[in-house]
Symmetry: C2
Subunit: 591 residues, 2 copies
């Protein structure tokens, strides 16, 4: 049976107590949704994840996707699981019901994505990519294009891909060379794209590739890039599938993890050129891409949480089963399960504290997406959008760094067994490693946080967040509870450190960008641990007055986070404020 059970109590807690599910459900467009309905959706998702997706995770790892005679073969069970996923209506929860979606908030869609990612990361990537492609088409495609593609993609009958990267154009997407030559009402696309997740497979009848390419005469760099729909099979006017387009998977990458996900080199236009349809206007491709960036980065950040949750569950199960050594604290002659050993328990508490903080952060960012889109008041929407913009790089970078650590701790809890592939701990460790890299490396996220998010408003959005943290500290001070009181000092120290370093960053990013950027990753870590600590404090405050085990533990874990993890963020202040000049000034020849 499955070794993953969706942590529904924790998910519901984060939805309602942190991310404001009720508030989100009161937004325009969600009139028909009720908390009971959301509960039922989560229950069913948990069953599907444990029953269908999780048992295939290891199959996906060991078999992997394979390219055989030009055809991508998915691991055993994946096509059937994908069909069940589509039939269950799971593919487009957040999209328009009139086009086959479920009309749920992104907040709920994010909880679902957490569950899919925990159950089977390799599987979940396909739908995640399709989700991104749908978003892009919803925002920028013509009415005709929407009619042609959206319903099939939202339901999951077709999947979507994002084609940005080329060998010389990774983080530097502006360096791409794929060409688009106008020909009547369409373009001919030719070029090579790499790292295309779910670039090809046979689980669906058609694949809708969204491809960045440069039209003839377009400027160099990102300003000359346009976005095209390049379907695997052309679609006839009546919606039926026509001829095969001039594109194919050239090879699949041998990756360290997420083996089930076919990561393809895609070859466009080896013959007459692949038929592509321009989205919107020429040379606005990057701008269009940006509209889905926040959601995509949220989706990847969530993978850190997803794998961490799975790893935590596995570590707890092992620690409660494995007998080794006597109890060093309480004595006794017999061996005890290793969960009795303080160092093991510390590892488990650390994993759990990190998981809970990541969940609160990701869910509140997701709620922000809904608020920014649907609040009635334009100023309130704008404010919500600024908060989302600030949180998203933290969700992406901090959560994927922490997710790696949690997966590694799971390996460590398992001891020698953790290094043996059959145990499964190694797979999570290998799988999650990609999340810090794709969808903008964590270095890029940190530079975005410092350069763009602090830089563009002089730290104002961060100042508003800091004010909320300060208010939480004051609320904590007023409580009569040992665990809550213990949070005050570390959280307020973290806040002070965040405020000082924010001022330093704002003061340096313009004049001394080298020094500032040298501290970007450190600033990200500081922001992550302080903001994470704030979420944990809010979790703890939400349980005040309740003496049940769940509530008591929420307060204990929040205290643990404050005492043990916030200091790791605060430790970044010196590197940020003193170390940049040395890094920036070091000669290239010194390496």
């Amino acid at each position: 049976m499955s070794d993953y059970a969706a942590p529904l109590a924790d998910i519901r807690f984060a939805l309602s107590q942190i991310a404001g599910l009720d508030n989100v459900l009161s937004l325009q467009g969600f009139e028909d949704l009720t908390p009971d309905l959301i509960d039922a959706v989560l229950d069913e998702a948990g069953k599907f994840a444990s029953g269908v997706l999780a048992p295939l995770s290891r199959v996906g790892d060991t078999q992997g996707a394979r390219l055989e005679n030009g055809v991508v073969r998915m691991p055993d069970g994946f096509p059937e699981a994908y069909k069940a996923y589509v039939d269950g209506g799971w593919n487009g929860p957040v999209f328009d019901p009139e086009r086959g979606g479920q009309g749920l908030p992104w907040l709920v869609g994010t909880a679902l994505n957490e569950i899919w990612g925990s159950a089977n990361l390799g599987f979940s990537l396909g739908p995640l990519l399709t989700q991104g492609a749908v978003e892009l088409l919803e925002a920028h495609a013509s009415a005709e294009q929407k009619d042609t593609y959206l319903e099939n993609m939202i339901t999951g009958r077709w999947t979507g891909t994002m084609n940005l990267t080329e060998p010389q154009a990774g983080s530097d997407v502006g360096a791409l060379r794929t060409k688009a030559v106008k020909e009547g009402d369409h373009y001919r696309i030719s070029g090579q794209k790499i790292f295309i997740s779910y670039g090809d497979h046979e689980m669906v009848e058609n694949i809708v590739h969204l491809v960045l390419a440069r039209t003839e005469g377009a400027p160099e760099g990102i300003k000359g890039i346009s976005l095209f729909i390049v379907p695997k099979y052309l679609v006839n006017a009546d919606g039926s599938l026509g001829q095969r387009n001039d594109l194919r998977p050239g090879s699949l990458e041998h990756k360290m993890g997420i083996h089930a996900s076919p990561t393809a080199v895609m070859l466009y236009g080896e013959n007459e050129g692949a038929v592509g349809y321009l989205i919107g206007e020429e040379c606005r491709g990057i701008e269009y891409m940006f509209t889905m960036m926040n959601n995509a980065r949220l989706g990847v950040g969530l993978q850190g949480l997803s794998v961490a949750e799975r790893a935590y569950q596995q570590a707890v199960a092992f620690a409660k089963e494995r007998v080794q050594m006597r109890d060093a604290v309480n004595g006794g002659k017999e061996g005890v399960t290793i969960i009795h050993h303080p160092d093991v328990r510390r590892m488990l508490m650390r994993m759990r504290a990190q998981v809970e903080a990541m969940r609160c952060l990701a869910y509140e960012a997701a709620a922000g997406l809904d608020l920014a889109k649907r609040l009635a008041d334009p100023d309130a929407r704008k404010l919500a959008q600024r908060r989302v913009d600030l949180l998203i790089p933290i969700v992406k970078a901090w959560s994927t760094d922490v997710g790696q650590e949690v997966a590694s701790t799971n390996v460590q809890v398992h001891g020698g067994m953790g290094f043996i592939e059959e145990t499964g701990a190694a797979q999570h460790y290998r799988d999650v490693r990609i999340a810090a890299i794709y969808e903008g490396t964590n270095g890029i996220q940190s530079i975005d946080l410092v350069g763009r998010k602090l830089g563009r408003d002089g730290g104002e959005a961060m100042g508003l967040l800091a004010a909320e943290i300060a208010a939480t500290v004051e609320t904590l001070r007023a409580q009569d509870d040992a665990d809550l009181s213990a949070i005050v000092a570390p959280l307020s120290e973290g806040l002070a450190s965040l405020e000082r370093t924010t001022r330093w960053m704002v003061g340096h990013i313009g004049q001394n960008p080298g020094e500032a950027l040298a501290g970007a990753t450190s600033y990200m870590k500081l922001a992550g641990y302080v903001v994470g600590g704030w979420y944990m404090a809010r979790s703890a405050l939400a349980t005040v007055g309740s003496g049940d085990a769940f509530s008591v533990q929420k307060r204990q874990i929040a205290r643990f986070f404050a005492e043990q993890l916030i200091p790791e963020g605060v430790a970044m202040e010196r590197p940020i404020t003193t170390g940049g000049a040395l890094v920036a000034g070091m000669s290239v020849d010194a390496f």
Copy 2:
């Protein structure tokens, strides 16, 4: 060609300026050795590593060792490389020249082990295990046993293994069940051992298994364990090989990394019982094992350094080659190599600072092994031994944790390419993960540091180390150099934190072991970063007055370590001193 070059300048610097090579060469038994000879040995080792071992590292990973029809097949090229290694006299550098060794200090043997580990970790494990077995036999075997086995093992014509672990007996070796039944001048051994590195292979004619087992009527637990020599082929009185012993590899593990190293389940005595020869006396097996523990743990700690050095070299090479994005600091229209980007440079400096600190630490610990064995004055020997005992768990745990981080940073520097197996970065990341687990998990090392090393002398040995750090701080204060001056504050803060937490630990380990042990890993991290910072400061001080690039960089990197890394250690003080009660008190049911 090879992508690894032994960092001989850095190795020589650490040998002479930190570990006191001259001092070691003045010890009894090293009269014939000169610095020139050592230089020549290192040069040759570097050539052999780059020319023969490093190119096989990836072959070892992709092919792995395989068990076919009961026979372990090594990856292509490994048998030839092993033969060349043996023929070159590399197998027993630190052992008795009269038995085929080279009579070099452990200090030099450690530098060699660093190089082998960097070049090909999977290969290097075989000789490392043999080295451990030789040490044990040298210390505890009878004259006849030594005559029978040692020369062949020291030269590498035979290899050795260590058989401790059983399915129910990992960290808890006292739980082992393998039986030894006396039969005349030998014993019959039966039982199953797991995780036996180089448990079987065909590169040599014989394998000498050292096996822990329990004799009839022996007490439960570690006090009833004896140590046996169990050769694959029995050895006739004339030294020739006789009949095959009743033992075989049952299977090889599928591991996340070090694929070239055959990790066997060893089955002893499926038929008449394997013939085993008692080493020393019955029931003293664990005591004997302890005599080689420090060296074995040094060897594994060194693997963190080895892989980190290799990863650092790969990251630098990639960062100097990969063009991506314009220079955000200095402008320009063209893309630049990514080493120009501050965040990438920060990653490289961090890797390098960590590598250099690990090297100094490991080498000084190795020098301590020589001093503790060979100093003329017994009190001085004892003092040296206490320092070694204190440093060894730090070498093992801190260096393997840091080695993982460095290998992960290399993946990150490579971006998407880092996740592709062909790049090689992933292999280092997977390989090094075991080092934090075997030879006593890092949790066990931390408990050893706190419980045994601080506990047994009330923190006196740590106090002596702290006094030396304090003296270094004073020397730094007297310097007129911006980089050296910048080290003073972070190092003295680190020292103060180490002293406070040491007092706290000493005060708690007896009365509140649960609280103390909950902070053991955090204390290890603090000790590692402060001691690492001290070594870097000493490196910097050793270059005072020199203005060449090498010396300037040593001071810059030391400053970087102080500013950027020591704070991460200091951040552990709060978790250690405030967090333990919560961890110790958490109910098992809470998880």
